[in-house]
Symmetry: C2
Subunit: 330 residues, 2 copies
DNA sequence: TTGTATGCGTTATCAT
DNA sequence: ATGATAACGCATACAA
């Protein structure tokens, strides 16, 4: 691997001049610039990222924190981020927090050592209070998740609106007893709270009661979906519709419901969230709320690049719209 | 961030001694060693990876190349690798080749600049001939994919055996007309060829003919699965069973088949490959061939670590077994 | 067993 | 506009 000295020698110039060309400094004669570029090309030279990092420079690597890569929503999100980053010649370091506070912090430390220029957090485990200090070492963008600090660049979806649209759809289908599953506690904050708000808003508008036993908290997986159905089977007064927090939960619920002879949507309507590929493969195909994942990824990378270019850029909060995809499960 | 000099000062010793402690050199008095360790702890010191890389050292980062992270098989594989790596205090740089030769090569270049200590390739786009030179800069482990070079450390599954078991299962169910979908050309090499061999072997043993029009090549996605069914609908002589190259293809096929009023498994048996979470959610639940993904990941990391410890370690080829999961689709 | 000095590849500072 | 040189943090050859 040739280094900057090799290029300098090859071009008959100094290392400093070569470095200036690499970094687009002004005050360089066209003549020498071309000489250097020629030499770089001939030698197949690429700057050594470690050396640049050591000097305290940006190094074309961004970090992405996801809770679990096997969750299709995050796999797609990572994909979108990776594509956008690659288009801008950035590399992506992917990290699973596994919903562990310690893991999350350990990854954020990469900012300190300039291993990554910036971080996109698609989930947040620690209090923002504990995360914020790390942003002194490089920009942190919240993607999908968000926090109460208006100074944090954020790309998110209007969860309230999405949940509202979903529940309203169920109400329009004639349902009055609508179950609801959420990822956190019902009284939580952030993304889940917004969804909860949308759920409640729609109920209220239709003058429907909120039955606490129809609210299932801390649900995430396929198995959780099955469990919801089992819980429902034990109820005297069952919901006629279930609004699940993700397509996975919906899929599990659908599977278990059918196993109990419950017809969908006649006996129980099921509404998903995400529009993952499995949604249309289920039987019946799943009505769900599509998240614009690609936009989410692109905008997040965009935000990060903005900060790389201008360290004191203004923080933005991008809000993206949902889309209700009506299929056969409602 | 404290550096090695800070630690040295704090411990009242030289940088060299601190460095020796960090790198577990022999010939250090217990006394000083503890002094240094104490100082490191007190200052919260962590070696700067960029500096180590620059110095030409291993840096606890491994790279993983996948074709597409949104493919659940690879998402689970990456997850397994990441968990195993984390347990050994290694970080994982994930890279999507998008099945592009250029992207693959661009990532392998990270080996040259010591950005990663070694690479796990879960797919191979370029000729091995073009990839091999990079292994001079760090070990490359083939995982799931493999090549004809016995000197390459490899962790793979016995594809022939897996395919054989699957087809045999279909034959035992009474099928004589068995369709087959594969990811590459039927005459290809590597992983897919092995599977093809297993398919043919099982047919041969049962004295069944191989009907070329029942072989669907270059199939990967849900849509490909649907397309297979559409092709089959146009045949006068249709297969009564379909052995698909992945659960995704199987899912697509099942969906499309049902749309055409084909009953599963009565009219058409469908056998998957992978045992992804969706397999048991399909209706009917999918009979499939389980790949021991976690083992695949763990063993790959193990191989890599072996080479890190001993640069001239012997190349191994680990073969892992499949498992036939019988559900209701066959 | 420990310390000193040098270099890894870059970029920034200071000259010119 | 260009060049010489120091510094980033670390690990090693060499000296002691």
């Amino acid at each position: 691997m040739p280094n900057i000295s090799d290029v300098a020698k090859h071009a008959g110039l100094s290392k400093a001049t070569v470095s200036r060309v690499i970094n687009n400094h002004p005050y360089i004669s066209k003549e020498k610039r071309e000489l250097v570029q020629q030499a770089m090309k001939e030698l197949g030279y690429h700057p050594n990222p470690s050396a640049r990092r050591l000097r305290g420079h940006l190094t074309s690597t961004i970090g992405v924190i996801v809770p679990r890569i096997v969750n299709p929503f995050f796999a797609y999100l990572v994909n979108a981020i990776e594509q956008a980053a690659y288009a801008n010649e950035y590399q992506v370091l992917i990290f699973q927090s596994d919903e562990s506070r310690e893991k999350e912090i350990s990854f954020l430390n990469l900012l300190k050592t300039k291993q990554v220029d910036g971080v996109i957090m698609t989930s947040i485990e620690n209090d923002w209070h504990d995360i914020k200090p790390y942003s002194a070492y490089g920009p942190i963008v919240c993607c999908n998740e968000y926090v109460q600090d208006p100074l944090v660049p954020t790309v998110k979806l209007n969860q309230t609106e999405g949940a509202y649209a979903g529940v309203k759809h169920l109400i329009e289908r004639g349902h009055k007893k609508i179950g609801y599953s959420t990822g956190a506690l019902f009284a939580g904050e952030g993304r889940d709270k917004d969804r909860n708000d949308g759920y409640q808003k729609a109920l209220k508008e239709a003058d429907l009661d909120l039955n606490p036993s129809w609210i299932f908290v801390n649900k995430h997986t396929i198995d959780d979906g099955k469990q919801i159905i089992r819980q429902m089977m034990n109820m005297n007064d069952r919901p006629t519709a279930l609004f699940s927090g993700s397509d996975e939960i919906a899929a599990g619920a659908m599977s278990e419901a059918k196993a109990h002879g419950i017809r969908i949507p006649e006996d129980l309507a099921i509404l998903g969230f995400d529009d993952q590929p499995i949604a249309e493969l289920l039987d019946p195909p799943l009505t769900t709320i599509r998240q614009p994942i690609d936009d989410l990824g692109e905008k997040s990378v965009e935000q990060l690049l903005r900060f790389f270019k201008d360290k004191s850029a203004q923080s933005e909060c991008v809000d993206l719209p949902f889309e209700l995809i009506v299929r056969k499960s409602t």
